[in-house]
């Protein structure tokens, strides 16, 4: 049996797109090949969360998502959060609270935080820790990241949470 090269249709950051690749290849690689290099590869085995994206509104690790599972899906990557120069509240808080250092974990961390604030609009610090438990950071020691997420929910009008 030979591999079936394929092409899937999906929506990325609100725009209809086609992604090329084997149906069992990683969504991560297809996104990066399409120029969306904000999505990072960390461990490549679902442990670190650096490659997290939103797939039909739910957080997934794109290294464990076969391209076939992204067919006809709406994908949000880190590139899709800001509206032109206007950063998402979570991004602004990461900036102001020192939530980002080397930056490799940041896209996944920010998307996990956005996902958390959609599910739990007023999280406790424990909620934040649980919500980000799948994202590893080797720089910050996490405290400034947790502070950034709590800061973001203060900054965020309820409607912004939908973004």
């Amino acid at each position: 049996m030979t591999a079936t090269p394929a092409r899937i249709e999906c929506t990325i950051n609100g725009e209809p797109r086609a992604l090329e690749g084997h149906p069992m290849s990683r969504l991560l690689d297809a996104l990066r090949a399409a120029g969306l290099t904000g999505t990072k590869e960390g461990c490549g085995e679902g442990e670190c969360g650096a490659c997290a994206v939103l797939l039909d509104g739910t957080l997934v690790n794109s290294c464990l998502t076969p391209l076939a599972h992204a067919s006809r899906a709406a994908i949000t990557t880190i590139e899709g959060l800001a509206i032109r120069e206007q950063l998402h509240a979570v991004q602004q808080s990461f900036l102001e609270c020192g939530g980002a250092q080397c930056g490799i974990c940041t896209p996944g961390m920010v998307l996990a935080a956005v996902d958390l604030l959609r599910r739990v609009p007023n999280p406790t610090e424990d909620d934040v820790r649980a919500g980000l438990a799948g994202n590893l950071c080797r720089c910050t020691g996490y405290m400034r990241i947790f502070a950034a997420v709590l800061d973001a929910c203060r900054r965020m009008p309820a409607t912004n949470a939908e973004r």
Binding site: A3, M24, L59, R129
Partner: protein, 286 residues
């Protein structure tokens, strides 16, 4: 690393019938659920080539419902996020909700499924001990029909299970229980979050005054399969609970388990922790 995918295919049939027909006609075809285990194995270069049949898009394999006998039916593609958030699960089978919360992070829980956790057949899986403690049954499905068996009979050895060619794990059934059981679930790993278990205990006890009317003790990561600790259960069932009875049960745990040294822990540590978890659980009923 990007694996070479020659010889692999992943198809996503739209209907259950079509998926079962493909699995019946191609002996090498294998079911594929959320991908959180198989994609890791693929990435590591250990996944056998062949045709994989994604069940993800098949609606009737998702969801949680009450059955007509007061139990709960979890369809196989139900994600651990759905299980984590389900009031039905939290009310009647809280250990399963706790287990769901401990399976990787949110991104993993969103895609990892109860059926995948069973069919991946890892002795270190987090939901199976709870399924054993709740006397779960599983329903297997193929083009030939459905059959049901106690979940405790399903795994026969390391990564071995009673799944016939062409068959999928379709449902998990949790039978209703009388009120009064006390549950305890405890996973011990390297860190609180996102770690694979070194030892995992799911336990339930039904007390009648100071006597143990009935008990379930199930452990993960301490044998080639998850195990019901029947010797330890027998040491406490229908006895008046005391430190001495607990000590007997704790000793009996060693005859129920067969831990090994591996990358995550040692046999000695696993034995000690398994015994401590059982003793701590039972002591809460003293």
């Amino acid at each position: 690393m990007i694996p070479v995918l020659d010889g692999f295919d992943l198809i996503a049939p739209a209907s259950l019938d079509e998926a079962l027909r493909i699995l019946a006609s191609d002996r090498d075809a294998r079911p594929f659920a959320g991908g959180t285990d198989l994609m890791v194995v693929l990435e590591a270069g250990h996944l056998p080539p062949g045709r994989y049949v994604s069940l993800w898009a098949i609606r009737e394999l998702h969801g949680i419902a009450r059955d007509d006998r007061g139990g709960l039916v979890l369809n196989a593609l139900t994600s651990f996020s759905e299980i984590r958030e389900s009031p039905l699960v939290a009310d009647a089978f809280p250990m399963l909700a706790l287990a769901a919360r401990e399976i990787g992070g949110i991104a993993t829980q969103n895609r990892a499924t109860i059926g995948g956790n069973i069919a991946n057949a890892s002795p270190a899986a987090d939901s199976p001990p709870a399924l054993l403690a709740y006397d779960a049954e599983i329903e297997l499905l193929s083009i030939r029909g459905r059959r049901r068996m106690p979940y405790g009979d399903f795994h026969t050895g390391y990564k071995k299970m009673r799944l016939e060619p062409g068959e999928i794990v379709a449902r998990v059934v949790l039978p209703s229980r009388q009120v009064g059981w006390r549950d305890g679930y405890r996973k011990v790993g390297t860190r609180r979050a996102q770690a694979i278990s070194k030892v995992c205990l799911a336990a339930s006890v039904l007390m009648d005054g100071d006597d143990v009317a009935d008990v379930r003790l199930a452990l993960g990561s301490i044998a080639p399969t998850v195990v019901r600790c029947r010797a330890a259960e027998d040491a406490v069932r229908r006895r008046t609970l005391s430190e001495e009875v607990i000590a007997n049960a704790t000793r009996a745990v060693l005859t129920d388990i067969a831990p090994i040294d591996d990358i995550r822990s040692t046999a000695q540590y696993r034995s000690a922790v398994a015994q401590n978890l059982v003793a701590a659980f039972l002591r809460d009923s003293l």
